[in-house]
């Protein structure tokens, strides 16, 4: 059974729908990447899963339970984590407090999770008392991912994690994502750097105009001449 199953979802902000029947299914070990042209509705898919835009048709199931249009404070305890593209850290709060906010829903002792997040991002441990707003773009991205990992998600949704980062930081962020996945967290991410991301994705979804165009392993999509011509710039 798939960890998350999105079947023929239509969604939007109230006006014309942005998603017109999207199908996505991924397993608990997958790194899935959604690629496609600007305005295709990639980020909207993540927002629809997380209850931030209204799903008008179709169904979303997570771990066998229906979560269509569920609120985030129900989804996070179920094991979903979301890292938005922008404004994804609490700038006025310290790195440590940002991580604590990720564990807000947990009433148990989360110091182990905090240790493992610091072990994954040693830079953050050093800067844990610093305000997140004072960090560089790459470090902020680590805080944002760390925050989302504090709730011990089974599936992490990442909206363009490499946006605005220099190539060195981009590789770092991708390495971190692979590491998170190796620790047993499924990944569903939207990415502009399609070639790079599909290179390590176990599943790829090419979206345009709010509909699925191609689906396959990352490798298969990279090798498909149609995908290359229409969506990867030749």
């Amino acid at each position: 059974m798939s960890l998350i199953e999105i079947s023929s979802v239509h969604a939007g902000y109230g006006g014309a729908p942005i998603l017109n029947g999207i199908d996505i299914a991924i397993d608990s070990t997958d790194i899935a990447v959604i690629v496609g042209p600007n305005g295709a509705g990639k980020s909207t898919i993540l927002k629809a899963i997380f209850g931030l835009v209204t799903v008008s048709q179709g169904m979303i199931r997570f771990g066998g339970k229906e979560i269509t249009n569920a609120e985030p404070d129900r989804l996070v305890p179920m094991g979903l984590g979301f890292v938005p593209q922008e404004f994804n850290v609490f700038t006025s709060m310290s790195v440590q407090e940002n991580l604590e906010m990720g564990a807000y829903i947990r009433r148990d002792d989360f110091s182990d999770t905090m240790h493992s997040v610091y072990a994954m991002f040693p830079d953050l441990q050093e800067k844990r008392r610093q305000r997140a707003g004072e960090l560089s773009g790459g470090q902020r991205q680590m805080v944002a991912m760390g925050r989302a990992l504090m709730s011990k998600p089974k599936l992490l949704l990442l909206d363009e994690p490499s946006a605005g980062l220099s190539p060195i930081y981009m590789n770092q962020v991708f390495d971190h994502i692979k590491k998170v996945n190796a620790n047993g967290v499924a990944i569903l991410m939207v990415e502009q750097n399609a070639r790079h991301a599909l290179g390590f994705a176990t599943r790829g979804f090419v979206i345009s105009n709010g509909q699925n165009r191609f689906t396959g392993t990352g490798k298969a999509l990279l090798e498909d001449p149609h995908v290359a011509r229409s969506f990867l710039g030749g």
Binding site: F50, L52, P72, D73, L75, V76, P77, F82, P84, F87, N88, V89, F90, T91, S92, M93, E97, E100, M101, G102, Y104, I105, R147, A148, S151
Partner: protein
């Protein structure tokens, strides 16, 4: 030296008292703005409402013939604070929450809060009439006089018991708030929501719970400020409506959404008001022989009747030179 005592009484003591009241009010305004993103215009009347709650409780206590060494209005605070907090929650449930759920903008909520102002004031006038009331009809207000340790000092520094209590209670409230915001899970959640509401939501922070906590704190602090103000002066239906402008000035000057800024802003506005209306001639009087052109009778910057303009001027100057407040606040 009498002049110095006069200065201390009229500027330092009075500024301190005003500053405490403004700070307690401004913390509420700034928290509500940070979390709910609207200017809570009815905050002054929430303070008045809290003072009347305390007054009713104090009257009840007095009818049982109970009298202690402390002012009765102060003794009933442990009961008045939760009652006012509960009333704040009721107002939110009846007025603001339906609007929030309908996706109303901040301006709509602001207008609604003006309506709440009218309702609270109307209800108070309906129930209690328009007269001035005093918490000290039976037990007299205790005064503390400190004589300056200088030769020839006759005029003492005068502090009333409510004034001392006000300062002590404000310090305690600020410390408690600080610990709450920096140590507790819910307090940190409040800061997170003020910082970035969308991210707070996707982190799974229960926004309704945070909103409830905000009203409880703002309501309790409003009751505290209103009651202490009424103990210091007297109780009337527009007790705190009259100071809603300096309270907003304090919150804006400190940077909206910034609790510590509100405290600093409160004292800044409080001292600025007392300094501006102080007649500086009094301080210069001992040196009048040295001034060849004589001493003018009144050297205050602003006539007492125009005290409110001081808050306005500070507000305008701060907004011109540091639009986000002394501390950087939340943007609208």
């Amino acid at each position: 030296m009498n002049e110095l005592a006069f200065f201390i009484n009229n500027v330092l003591v009075a500024g301190m008292v005003l500053g405490c009241v403004y700070a307690l009010g401004a913390i509420g305004v700034t928290l509500i703005f940070g979390i709910l993103r609207f200017a809570h215009f009815a905050h002054g009347d929430m303070m008045t409402m809290g003072a009347f709650v305390a007054f009713v409780l104090a009257s009840l206590v007095a009818t049982f013939g109970i009298q202690t060494a402390w002012p009765t209005g102060f003794i009933v605070l442990p009961l008045a604070l939760p009652i006012t907090a509960a009333l704040a929650l009721v107002i939110d449930r009846l007025v603001y929450r339906p609007l929030r759920d309908a996706g109303a903008k901040g301006v709509t909520l602001l207008i609604a809060s003006i309506g709440v102002t009218l309702m609270i004031q109307g209800l108070i006038r309906l129930l209690f009439g328009t007269s001035n009331r005093s918490f000290f009809e039976t037990d007299p207000k205790q005064l503390f006089r400190l004589t300056l340790p200088f030769e020839g000092a006759q005029r003492p520094i005068t502090l009333s018991e409510p004034q001392i209590l006000l300062v002590v209670v404000t310090v305690l409230a600020v410390i408690a708030l600080h610990l709450f915001l920096t140590r507790s899970r819910l307090g940190k959640g409040m800061r997170a929501m003020a910082d970035n509401p969308d991210l707070a939501r996707v982190s799974g922070i229960n926004t309704r719970q945070v909103i409830r906590a905000t009203w409880i704190i703002a309501g309790a602090l409003a009751c505290l400020a209103g009651t202490m103000l009424a103990l210091d002066v007297s109780l009337k239906p527009d007790l705190a409506f009259n100071i809603v402008l300096p309270i907003f000035a304090a919150a804006i000057v400190g940077g909206l959404g910034h609790a510590y800024g509100a405290i600093a802003g409160g004292f800044l506005v409080g001292f600025a008001e007392t300094l501006a209306v102080f007649n500086w001639t009094v301080l210069l009087r001992p040196f009048r022989d040295a001034i060849p052109w004589g001493l003018p009778a009144d050297l205050s910057l602003v006539p007492t009747d125009y005290k409110l303009t001081v808050a306005f001027i500070i507000l305008v100057v701060v907004l011109l030179f540091r639009p986000t407040g002394i501390f950087r606040g939340a943007s609208t």
